[in-house]
């Protein structure tokens, strides 16, 4: 029997999978997530079995709030694909959104003062 083990199926450096393979071909997220949307793993276990990609995504969000951009960077997946995985986990309550009240107003002087104090105290 011929072994294919030493014959690479993909070019070195190329992604192992086509990006949307990990979403089962789905290209539309179920919610509108922004690059800066923060999510965190829920303290309860997910109610449904997870794929390895979902599991890895969830693991990245256990230590603290993580932005969509950071999760995508850590998974090495495009942002658009990452958003679909995150939506799946949000929909099954394995992840929760962490945002006190909608998107912040970056022109709010009070908010900017807090940023300044924080940066100066680093």
């Amino acid at each position: 029997m011929t072994s294919y083990d030493d014959a690479p199926w993909v070019t070195d450096g190329a992604p192992r999978l086509r990006p949307y393979a990990v979403t089962g071909g789905r290209t539309a997220p179920t919610r509108r997530l922004a690059l800066e949307t923060l999510v965190i793993a829920a303290r309860t276990l997910p109610r449904v079995p997870l794929t390895p990609e979902h599991d890895e995504t969830l693991r990245e969000c256990r230590a603290g709030p993580r932005s969509v951009a950071e999760v995508a960077g850590r998974l090495g997946l495009p942002v658009a694909v990452t958003k679909i995985l995150l939506c799946d986990l949000l929909d099954t309550c394995a992840l929760i959104l962490t945002a006190p009240a909608g998107p912040p107003d970056p022109t709010d002087p009070y908010l900017l003062e807090k940023v300044l104090v924080g940066l100066r105290n680093l």
Binding site: P19, Y20, T27, A28, P29, R32, A34, L35, E36, T37, L38, I40, G64, P65, S67, A69, E70, A72, G73, R74, L77, P78, V79, A80, V81, L90, C93, I96, L97, T98, A99, P100, P103, P104, D105, P106, T107, D108, P109, L111, L112, E113, K114, V115, L116, V117, G118, L119, R120, N121, L122
Partner: protein, 225 residues
């Protein structure tokens, strides 16, 4: 929504854009101030994602990948998380900047005096968008030293736009740039609120366009002074 976490884990995310030409030190600066090693985040816009991600400004292309540098600074005491995005400076990436600029505090434009023209596109974009920005002259050892005033004149900057020399490799210097940016953004917002009807464009641009990704009109490129 019912599925928001209201707890100690609640942080307010705030974006800061680090822009500039190729090789000017964006990745270096993100790495110098970020509390995590900088990550590469890829935004791929394909025909499949057109409904969700605007392709305005990218004619005759059905797939574009933009690699951004990502870093973060958590200000735990204030429940704030600064998200730093290092982004390519070329005009063809303006559609990406729309994503980044909406809802951002502002931008740091890094300039290399040996190739000052590389930051024209970024300066032009942020001026048109009304987003607060500062210019950091990243000092390379073999570059002739220009004063911030000379660079400000060469870039035709508004008089209130801060320009300062920096070393993008040094945490203190890179952090100082961020502080300068936030001070500038704060001063502008205070001034805008003191005279609300004067500049409606700046207010509307920053506050309302969180998802709309308005394309910025193009104009002839700046000429060096």
């Amino acid at each position: 929504m019912s599925d928001y976490a209201i707890s100690d884990d609640s942080f307010v995310p705030l974006k800061i854009v680090i822009a500039g030409g190729f090789g000017v030190g964006k990745t270096t600066m993100v790495g110098a101030v970020s509390e995590i090693p900088p990550l590469t985040t890829e935004e791929t816009l394909t025909a499949a994602s057109v409904d969700h991600d605007s392709l305005d400004g990218v004619p005759e292309k059905d797939a574009t990948t933009v690699a951004m540098d990502f870093g973060r600074i958590t200000l735990s005491a204030h429940h704030l998380m600064l998200l730093l995005f290092g982004t390519p400076g070329q005009k063809r990436f303006w559609f990406m900047w729309d994503h980044l600029a909406s809802g951002a505090i502002g931008a740091v434009v890094l300039a290399d005096t040996r190739r000052l023209a590389d930051c024209f596109a970024a300066v032009e974009y942020f001026e048109r968008r009304g987003l607060p920005f500062v210019v950091g002259i990243n000092e390379f050892d073999d570059a002739y030293h220009y004063t911030p005033e000379e660079v400000k004149a060469a870039l035709h900057l508004r008089s209130d736009t801060p320009v300062m020399c920096c070393d993008a490799r040094a945490t203190s210097s890179a952090r100082h740039l961020l502080i300068k940016l936030v001070e500038h953004a704060h001063a502008r917002s205070v001034a805008a609120r003191a005279a609300p009807p004067a500049e409606p464009a700046a207010e509307a641009g920053a506050a309302s366009a969180s998802e709309s990704a308005q394309p910025v009109p193009t104009s002839p490129p700046r000429s060096p002074a």
